[in-house]
Each structure stands twice: as C-alpha cells, then as structure tokens.
C-alpha cells in the first residue's frame, strides 16, 4: 500500500484489546469524562485549573510582554501615520469639549446645591487596583482574560473590571496572584444596564460576538441607536453608573457596542466594590477572644463583615481611590455605606 492510492496505512487486523488500541480508547474516554466533569463544574477541575494558572502566570506574563510592546509600537506607528487627520479631529473635539466643560461645571454646581438641599448621602468611594492582562483566554466557548492581580492584592470574585474606556467585565476566578475576567462579550455575561436619557432598564448579554445583545427592553421603550449604556447596579454586584457602551443596530434588533476594545486589552483596573446589602448578610465573624468575651457576658457586638474598601491589604498594593472625592479614608467609606 506504500505509495499507493490511499493516503492511509493499512491497519493490521487485531483485537482492540491490543495495548495501543486500549490506550487510544482510554484517552478518548478520558476526554469524555473530563468534559462531563467540566460541565457539572466539579471542584477538582476548578482547583486544577487554578493551580495551573498560578503556576504558569509568570511564564505567560513574560511571554506576553514582547507581544504587548509590539502592539503598542504598531498602534504608535498607526497614530503617527494618521497624525495630521488626528490633530484636526482633536482640535474640533477640543472646541466641543470646552463648551461641555462649561456646561459640566454649571451642572456640578447645581447638583451640589440640590444635594445639600436634600441632605443626600454621598456615594461610597470606589477603590481600585490596576494591573495588566497577561493571557488572552478566548475560544469558541468563552471570552476571558487573565490579569496579574489576585487575592494578595484584594481581588475577589465578582468585582467589576474597567479600563480607560469603560466596563470590561467582572472577575470570575481569583488566585493568589492572578484573576480571570469574564469579558462582557462572553456567552455567560449578563449585565443589568440603564439605557439613554430615559434610564430604561435592560440586560446586556454577551453572545461571544463583538457586540452585546440588549434584552428585556420594555415595549415601546424610547431607546435609539447612539444612546449611552451604563450599569444599573440592580444586580447588587456591579457599581451603578459604569459606562458600558453605546446602542447600535435598528429598532427591534438593538445591540450594544462596548466602549472598551475587548480584543486588545492591556491595563485594566479592578474595582473593590462590595454592596452594603451583601456585606450585611454575611454572618458575623467571631474571633476566639471575642467569642470568649461574648460568652462571659460582654455585650459587645462584632462589626458586620468588612466591605472591600476596609479590607486589610498588603502595604505594597497599588490601590488608588476613584469616585466620590469626599470619602478619602476607609472609615469614611463605611460611614457613607451605613
């Protein structure tokens, strides 16, 4: 058969119990078992994956660095080529922004005045840590990315992740030094949003494509292409008011184009946001000495579970503050939430 018409070698007739055939069958069977275990979300699969990711994170970070640098260089070359057009565009935009600045300052004064009249409580401050994407884990199943921030930096599962343009996704796994972000475009991503000036509530769902589906819009909702989309915060997981994207498409088939370029992520920030509701439902944590004092008749009630903004963090953590400017200390944040 060698050099014959068929590209396949003739296979000797033998029992499938031959060692090679048995190994073959075992490997196929193992694949099926692993797929089933992954589908049911077996703990061992998650632990193995987490351990592996922790182990390979430094290698991935090193391997990604030249690629990210090359991407930056390419972007710089592109912007250099288009610099004259860009200058004209920026000049026009600057003129427009000057007008907006004046309007924004006026609106800021009005808002401050109205808030003082209403005795409104300040929004809790948002702390964040900034890291970079070290691995791009995308395929037919998911759209995710690995970042070089983990539990050591205060990152927990469920935190919102943003970049300079807007919301990117949320953390779904957190190891000691790395975390996995589920991107907005992932099939399993569901973000409650408000759309446009009318503040119409809807759900922005990923479907593994570049744009998000806009679901559960009320009938006759005044939503049109070009409307801005923000997080509503009604899920109690993501903070309210994070920029998500802009409405595209036609009525009846509206979609959301994310502001953030999800295919070329680099530096991202994780927002340490724990909703007051969630922290209050946490069971009280009794340290042994406090448990003793409680049993001895001391009526001291331990504080409710800590919010993310007052969690102890390592001294070298790159954490800055964003959001409300008045709450500059961690204690201030707690007061605002209570």
């Amino acid at each position: 058969m060698r050099g014959g018409h068929s590209p396949f070698k003739p296979r000797p007739r033998r029992s499938w119990r031959a060692p090679g055939e048995l190994l073959n069958f075992t490997l196929y069977f193992l694949c099926a078992v692993l797929l089933v275990l992954s589908r049911i979300g077996h703990g061992a699969v998650g632990e193995t994956r987490d351990g592996f990711v922790e182990l390979t994170a430094p290698l991935l970070e090193t391997a990604s660095r030249p690629v990210i640098m090359a991407r930056h260089a390419a972007a710089r070359v592109r912007s250099y080529i288009a610099s004259f057009d860009e200058i004209d565009r920026l000049k026009a935009e600057n003129e427009k922004l000057k007008q907006w600045e004046w309007r924004a300052k006026l609106a800021e004064r009005n808002v401050a005045h109205l808030r003082s009249l209403l005795n409104a409580v300040d929004e809790p401050a948002l702390h964040f840590a900034t890291g970079s994407v070290i691995a791009d884990a995308r395929g037919p199943f998911l759209r995710s990315a690995l970042i070089n921030l983990g539990r050591d930096q205060g990152v927990r599962v469920g935190y919102a992740v943003i970049n300079g343009d807007g919301l990117v996704g949320r953390t779904v796994d957190a190891g000691d030094s790395v975390a996995r972000i589920l991107l907005l475009s992932d099939l399993n991503s569901r973000i409650p949003v408000v759309v446009g000036h009318a503040g119409v509530r809807a759900l922005a769902s990923g479907d593994n494509s570049a744009e998000l589906k806009l679901e559960f819009l009320p009938d006759g909702a005044p939503v049109k292409p070009g409307d801005e989309v923000f997080t509503s915060g009604s899920d109690g997981v993501l903070p309210r008011g994070l920029a998500v994207g802009v409405v595209t498409g036609s009525p009846g088939a509206l979609r959301v184009r994310p502001h953030a370029d999800l295919r070329a992520l680099d530096a991202v920030s994780v927002l340490f946001f724990d909703t007051p509701t969630l922290t209050r439902t946490d069971p009280p944590v009794f340290t042994p000495d406090r448990a003793l004092s409680a049993s001895s008749g001391d009526a001291e009630i331990p504080a409710t579970g800590p919010s993310a903004s007052v969690e102890p963090r390592p001294a070298d953590t790159r954490i800055k503050q964003a959001g409300a400017s008045r709450a500059t200390s961690a204690e201030g944040v707690v007061q605002a939430q209570q």
């Binding site: 058969m1 590209p7 073959n24 490997l27 884990a137 593994n208």
Partner: protein, 166 residues
C-alpha cells in the same frame, strides 16, 4: 531529537494560544486550530515520534490555557493525531498535496465537531462563522505550517527507492 522537537514545537504553539495577540473575535478559533494542525503534521511526517498520549496531554494543556472545558481540545488533538498517524506513507510532493486534502477533511470534521460539542456543552447554538473562519484559515495556511515543520525537522526523508541510484 525526533522525539523532543515535535513536542517542544507544539508546546510553544500551545503557549502562543494564551498570549494576547489582539485578534478580532472572529479569529479566536485559529490559534488552537494551529496546535491541532501541528499535531496532525508531526504524526503524519515520517521519521518522527509523536505518541497519542502526548497529543492528548498537549490538547489538555491547551484546554487549561484557554480556560475552556477540560477535554475539548484534548479530544480534537486526539482525533487529528489518530488520523495523522494513519497517513505516514506520504513522502513526495504529490503526497504532500494529498496530505493537504486529508487535513482539509480533518479540519472540517474538527470544526463541525467543535461547533456541535460547544453548542451541546453550553446548551446554546454557537455562532458558526468564527469556527468556519478558523477552519478555513487553518486549511489555507496548512502548506506553510507543514513546510515550516519539515524545515525544523531537517527536510523530507528521501523515498526508499532512491537509495543506491546516485
């Protein structure tokens, strides 16, 4: 060297699947397909050692890197390795074209199975286009990858009937 080189080259390709290249959403299927293609090529090239269990392990590594379900790319790698191993009789340029044809069939089968398995796994019909695009690109770039691997290996082995002619 014929044992280490194939495994090492595929390992590099697996690592490359996790690097943030900034590929568009429609091109995400291409890097893992290149891994599967390389496994197929190494199995099909005469004079190389690339056992099935190695294909399984490298596929599993791709699964771990991608964050997807374990066993998915391991299964695809196994299928490609299994078929590649049965096409070892291909030596000359005519057979290389035939090998390309075989890969086209394997890639189509892997693409179709990926779509079906992915849809079943997620209980949601996946978009066909990224998978079809990835499959098509993998078929188009096959000669380049094959050529690269042959160069890496040190060229094609001479057919046996040439021995003694010169």
């Amino acid at each position: 060297m014929n044992r280490i080189l194939p495994a090492l080259s595929v390992l590099v390709a697996v690592l490359a699947t996790a690097i943030p290249w900034g590929l568009p959403a429609d091109a995400t299927f291409i890097p893992p397909m290149v891994v599967v293609m390389m496994i197929f090529c190494w199995r099909a090239l005469p004079g190389t050692v690339f056992p099935l269990y190695l294909a399984f392990l490298l596929g599993l590594l791709t699964d771990l890197m991608s964050g997807g379900p374990l066993g998915f790319w391991a299964l695809m790698a196994l299928i490609a390795a299994d078929i590649g191993g049965r096409a070892r009789s291909l030596n000359d340029s005519q057979d290389r074209n035939r090998l390309w044809l075989v890969w086209a069939g394997v890639a189509a089968a892997v693409g179709a199975l990926s779509w079906l398995l992915g849809s079943l796994y997620l209980v949601h019909w996946l978009d066909v286009w990224p998978i079809a695009f990835g499959t098509l690109v993998s078929i188009l770039i096959f000669p380049v990858i094959l050529r690269g691997l042959v160069l890496l290996k040190g060229g094609w082995p001479k057919p046996k009937f040439h021995r003694g002619w010169t």
